[in-house]
């Protein structure tokens, strides 16, 4: 008897008892859906963190004025207006620490920005050249500004790829003049890449000028809004955090038990917190999946045992006309496997719905899920394995029945 024939008979047999088949499949449906979602969440989180860290640069700290709130944690807070502002010189001092690879002072504000006749409100960053290293910014076209631009407070500007695309589709953006806060800035470069990052900015929409040319009147000379710090390595991130804290306490003359009037945020720890939550979710789904598959599998075994005892006479007739034990075994095994596979496919469909919903609701930043062929393959493999494992015992029992005893049964 061919495999095709065996599968056709299995389908027919299952179709003759639709409600029972559907209810039996339910556990497998939930189990496979959970497993597929678990795999999807795992992949999505890994991709998300990789993307975030590559955009932000790795081993990042952000230093702001204002006392850390109780409980600490990774949340960024609005700066405390009462605390003394950080300065470019603080950034330079931090830059000199042995555990620090680079430190960049940053000013950030929203300005009216004029591209020819086209006016918008945009966020503009004023930074020191170290920022390019700290944030892994790559200049796609033109050049980054230099220490000389910084010293001379040259009105030069680098723009994000989306800005370049929106305003200079058919023109060379280099050399164009953009008015920021009423002052003219010359475009000297376009930054590569785009995408929203954990700190809320979109790389493609960046406008970056030398911090000394930032068109804002500040309450204190050389003041900055925050300092981006990159540690030498991930291993020395904690050490860098402590070094920066110690240096700033010293420079700001904070002693003894007086609390810090600045705070240091570890960006990786925000990503890590997200990753931990997602990993927990992933494990939760995995456990639900495993339990559902186990319970579903036992349900299938149970129903197959019932099915065998209901069909003893059929088995006897089949044996009488020439069915070998292996024919009976494969017949019942095929029913279990077909039932699991159908459940698995429904489960995959359910998971696809879940993925669609997650992407529709839209979680944080660039987080998005997808259903890969590998996951579907794993689901099919899992359902087949469950069918084979839990279907084997009932099928084996059926195959070991004696024809004479089957035929005696009414």
């Amino acid at each position: 008897m061919s495999l095709l024939q065996t599968l056709l008979e299995a389908f027919r047999s299952l179709a003759s008892n639709r409600l029972r088949t559907a209810l039996t499949m339910l556990g497998i449906v939930i189990g496979i859906a959970s497993v597929v979602l678990m795999l999807g969440v795992g992949d999505a989180v890994r991709a998300f963190i990789d993307r975030e860290l590559s955009v932000l640069g790795s081993n990042q700290l952000i230093v702001q004025r204002g006392a850390p709130t109780a409980g600490g944690g990774g949340q960024r807070r609005p700066p405390n207006p009462d605390a003394v502002m950080l300065t470019i010189d603080d950034a330079a001092a931090i830059n000199g620490l042995p555990s620090v690879a680079a430190a960049a002072a940053t000013l950030q504000s929203i300005f009216p920005v004029l591209y020819g006749d086209n006016s918008t409100q945009s966020t503009v960053l004023g930074v020191t050249p170290e920022m390019f290293r700290v944030r892994n910014w790559v200049v796609d076209l033109g050049v980054a500004f230099t220490d000389e631009d910084l010293r001379s407070a040259n009105r030069v500007i680098l723009i994000g790829s989306k800005v370049a695309e929106a305003n200079y589709l058919r023109r060379d953006p280099l050399g164009q003049v953009i008015r920021v806060g009423g002052r003219p800035f010359t475009v000297i470069g376009v930054l590569a890449g785009s995408g929203r990052t954990l700190d809320g900015t979109d790389l493609g929409e960046l406008l970056v000028v030398p911090i000394t040319a930032f068109p804002l009147v500040l309450p204190r000379p050389r003041a900055v809004h925050y300092i981006n710090v990159q540690a030498i390595s991930e291993l020395r991130l904690k050490e860098a955090e402590a070094d920066v804290a110690e240096l700033l306490r010293d420079r700001r003359r904070i002693t003894g038990d007086t609390p810090d009037d600045f705070n240091i945020t570890n960006l990786a720890s925000i990503a890590q917190t997200g990753a931990n939550i997602a990993a927990g979710l992933s494990i939760g789904l995995g456990v639900i999946g495993a339990v559902s598959l186990l319970v579903g599998g036992i349900g299938i075994m149970n129903i197959m045992l019932v099915s065998v005892s209901e069909r003893v006479r059929e088995i006897g007739i089949r044996m009488a006309i020439g069915a070998k034990p292996r024919h009976v075994l494969t017949q019942f095994l095929a029913e279990a496997v077909v039932m699991c596979l159908m459940g698995g496919l429904v489960g995959v469909a359910l998971a696809a719905g879940g993925v669609w919903a997650v992407n529709r609701i839209g979680a944080v930043g660039s987080f998005s899920m997808s259903l890969s062929l590998t996951h579907v393959g794993v689901a099919v493999l899992f359902s087949t394995a469950v069918g084979l494992f839990f279907g084997f015992y009932p099928a084996r029992r059926a195959s070991l029945l004696l024809p004479i005893e089957c035929l005696r049964q009414e």
Binding site: M1, S2, L4, Q5, R12, S13, S16, R313, E314, I317, R318, M319, A320, I321, G322, A323, K324, P325, R326, H327, L402, P403, I404, L407
Partner: protein, 233 residues
């Protein structure tokens, strides 16, 4: 004629816990190819048990069974299934058709177990149904057929793999007089025209009269073996 069936010293008893009930004692029986044999006897005489042993549906406790020149006493379950498929055909009192399959699929099933392709099995099934006069009902379900028609489907199925021996267990037990005559006429023609060996278990003298040899059992022993007319009471 060569012996198709040889039983030597076959005995069988059933065990139910401590109680052992002997059913057949030391049966010696030869049936030649082409014979038409009726097995009769009161209930409990062991005629059905003998039939099951001949059909390899059950195993003897002792003795030897040669079928078509082969010792089939000690075959494995799979080997027995193959012999049932290739050499034997069964017709039961209650027809034993698979109710979810249509008539043609029922007839084709033994061929599929024999390894035939779906196409070949379907063609042979239609040929067999034509032979028993039911070609027009190939796509009906068994439940949509009369008893006589169902039994003819069962006969077509029994003939699917061109068996050497047809075993019929009370084949007319569930049929009325008219359809009984039809089924018996079909068996007669199979025996006479195709030389098919038939063993039929029955308790009806009219049915036994169609056979050319009567074997009568009582208390697990053969008490008569001869022409049907002489065996009548």
């Amino acid at each position: 004629m060569s012996a198709l069936i040889t039983l030597q010293g076959v005995a069988k008893s059933y065990r139910n816990g401590e109680i052992v009930t002997p059913v057949l004692h030391d049966i010696q029986l030869d049936i030649a190819a082409g014979e038409y044999v009726a097995l009769m006897g009161p209930s409990g005489s062991g005629k059905s048990t003998l039939m099951n042993l001949l059909g390899l549906l059950d195993r003897a406790d002792t003795g030897h069974y040669h079928l078509a020149g082969r010792d089939v006493t000690q075959l494995s379950a799979a080997q027995q299934a193959e012999v049932r498929n290739q050499t034997l055909g069964f017709v039961f009192q209650s027809f034993n058709l698979l109710k979810r399959m249509n008539v043609a699929e029922n007839v084709a099933l033994p061929l599929l177990y024999a390894g035939a392709t779906r196409r070949a099995a379907r063609e042979r099934a239609h040929e067999l149904l034509a032979q028993v006069g039911l070609d027009g009902l190939a796509h009906r379900l068994p439940s949509q057929l009369s008893g006589g028609q169902q039994q003819r489907v069962a006969i077509a199925r029994a003939l699917a793999c061109r068996p050497a021996l047809l075993l019929a267990d009370e084949p007319t037990g569930n049929l009325d007089t008219q359809t009984t005559a039809e089924v018996l006429a079909l068996l007669d023609s199979l025996n006479r025209e195709q030389g098919l060996t038939i063993v039929v278990v029955t308790h009806e003298n009219d049915v036994a009269a169609h056979a050319r040899r009567l074997v009568r059992l009582k208390d697990g022993r053969i008490v008569f073996d001869g022409a049907p007319v002489a065996g009548r009471h």
